[in-house]
């Protein structure tokens, strides 16, 4: 335990931005990790090193640089596959991020397979990226989008799922493994068991989960899985879509172009092997390499340690925030069922005003609808404030947040 603590204390020095001050010379307290995380030198340098030494387009050329570039690109695929226990690297497709991953599924699987009258089930606490693509698809096809409701504790009401599955019309159930607003960890085992029992495919939005806990795709048993590099120390512009091979083999191509083809003739074309069939055009090579470096970094820490660190911070934060008069916290207090994301409202002060005032103290929190307006409607609020933690955050930083909330109270005469 001692050594893990010093591990977390030491790693702050890897993150140059954490040495920064903002506004009137206030040390930066970065608590918007659910939105995007900061990057360690190891990741930043891996990208520079790629461009300084190995940059070339991949797969196609025979010269030395192209060989090196292809090697580091494909090595990153293996690292990531290993990190979340994907057994077959052909199932791992690089995309820009979770949003593109889900849209790819909606186009390349959804358009051919969803028909009039079919039902797609999502949940009330999804991010817009796991709602809007399904609205577009179901509207186009004359299918229906249904929502698993959420109880007042911030947990999904699985009876709703039973109800929809009973219709026999459900083709896909899609849900996030962890809510980006409430931090709720979905009861994935139950959901997938129910879906499997009736042969319904499942998509997991892992954008908030993969960065913060050990995820084992093999064990989850879902059919589609999506996440983003930038929320887990990696660069912007790169993410992963995993699709079970038996499903992937049935999917139409998404983008047409270079690298995804086998033979192009004027009027017909055949497709490349998996996963390349779904990676058209020059990929984001350098950021794939950077993502690989992020995976190395997290692997060295160990995802169980990451989770333990965040549990400790979240517990502390929940305690301290509960003591602030007039502050309302959303979601469950059961720490085993939630990640390090805390949404709250402070008396009658609008979250933007809260965020603005704490920003004056150097504290970066998010305010707004967090791309989850359906959830906001469910909670009957316009917006919330949200603090979210990662490996480099400390209890002292939470104290700074609490102090800056006192400033809010003073300004708004609470």
């Amino acid at each position: 335990m001692q050594s893990t603590q010093s591990l977390f204390e030491n790693l702050r020095k890897d993150f140059p931005i954490l040495q920064r001050t903002v506004r009137d010379n206030k040390p930066l307290v970065y608590l918007d990790n659910a939105s995007t995380t900061q990057k360690p030198n190891q990741v930043i340098d891996s990208i520079s090193n790629y461009y300084q030494n190995h940059n070339a387009n991949i797969h196609r050329a025979v010269y030395a640089l192209a060989e090196e570039s292809t090697e580091v690109y494909e090595a990153a695929r293996d690292k990531i596959a290993n990190f979340i226990n994907i057994k077959n690297r052909q199932e791992l497709i690089f995309v820009r991020g979770t949003t593109e991953a889900i849209n790819l599924v909606a186009y390349a699987w959804g358009r051919p397979f969803i028909k009039e009258g079919d039902i797609i089930v999502t949940t009330e606490y999804e991010h817009h990226s796991n709602i809007v693509p399904w609205q577009l698809l179901t509207q186009e096809k004359g299918a229906k989008l249904e929502y698993i409701g959420m109880d007042d504790n911030g947990e999904l009401i699985l009876d709703d799922l039973d109800k929809y599955l009973a219709t026999g019309k459900v083709k896909l159930v899609t849900f996030s493994l962890m809510s980006n607003v409430l931090g709720t960890i979905s009861d994935v085992e139950k959901i997938i068991e129910k879906c499997k029992a009736v042969g319904v495919l499942t998509l997991i939005d892992g954008a908030q989960a993969v960065p913060h806990m050990k995820v084992d795709i093999e064990k989850l048993g879902c059919d589609f899985f999506a996440f983003s590099g930038h929320k887990m120390l990696g660069p912007t512009g790169i993410g992963v879509l995993w699709v079970r091979k038996s499903v992937l083999e049935t999917m139409s191509p998404f983008h047409g172009g270079g690298d995804m083809i086998r033979e192009v003739h004027k009027y017909e074309t055949t497709w490349n092997d998996l996963p390349y069939k779904f990676e058209a055009g020059t990929p984001n090579i350098a950021d794939v390499v950077g993502f690989g470096a992020a995976i190395d970094y997290l692997t060295k820490i160990g995802m169980d340690n990451v989770r333990a660190h965040e549990i400790e911070l979240t517990k502390y934060a929940l305690e301290k925030l509960s003591e602030v008069k007039g502050l309302h916290i959303y979601g469950t207090k059961d720490i085993s069922k939630r990640g390090g994301v805390i949404s709250f409202n402070f008396a009658d002060v609008h979250p933007h005003d809260v965020a603005q005032i704490v920003d004056g103290e150097g504290v970066a929190i998010r305010s707004g609808h967090h791309c989850a307006q359906v959830l906001m409607e469910r909670l009957n609020v316009a917006a919330t404030s949200r603090a979210s933690f990662y490996i480099y955050n400390t209890k002292e930083e939470i104290d700074v947040l609490i102090n800056s909330l006192n400033k809010v109270a003073k300004v708004f005469k609470l």
Binding site: D348, H350, H352, G360, G368, V411
Partner: protein, 146 residues
């Protein structure tokens, strides 16, 4: 200007007690818009007679900046003729509240209601005039506010 300084007495007061807040059931024109990024959302209802704004009310959800600016805007607007309303500029509102140096993200909170007002106005004019060139200009005006 430090972040907390923005929140002087007047703004905090307006945010708790907005002026001209509510609906006008028999409005002559109404318009709704929202800020896609923060979720602020404002409706403005107008009564217009003799080319003059005889009544104006707003409602919606927004931060203190948004509420204060909407209050000030409706106060400024009431009683003005349409030509004068057209000429209301962002600084007319910002300066009233000492918000001239607000940062870019918050400017959108401050000016949402002005954008809604201008949109309401061109909706009205489009229905009551056929001076289409002017309307295009107004449309552009509204769009280019931020």
């Amino acid at each position: 200007m430090s972040n907390a300084d923005i929140y002087h007495e007047m703004i905090v007061d307006y945010s708790r007690n907005p002026v001209n807040y509510g609906k006008i059931e028999d409005h002559d024109v109404t318009f709704h818009d929202s800020n896609p990024l923060c979720g602020d959302s404002i409706d403005i209802d107008l009564k217009i007679a003799d080319n003059k704004v005889t009544d104006i009310k707003f409602h919606g959800k927004g931060c203190a900046i948004c509420m204060a600016c909407s209050s000030v805007l409706t106060e400024i607007t009431k009683g003005k003729n349409l030509e004068e309303v057209r000429k209301i500029e962002k600084n007319d509102i910002l300066s009233e509240l000492g918000l001239e140096h607000l940062q870019a993200v918050r400017i959108k909170c401050a000016l949402l209601s002005l954008k809604v007002l201008k949109s309401a106005l061109y909706t009205y004019l489009a229905d009551h005039l056929d001076d289409s060139q002017d309307i295009d200009k107004l449309k552009e005006d509204a769009a280019s506010l931020y």
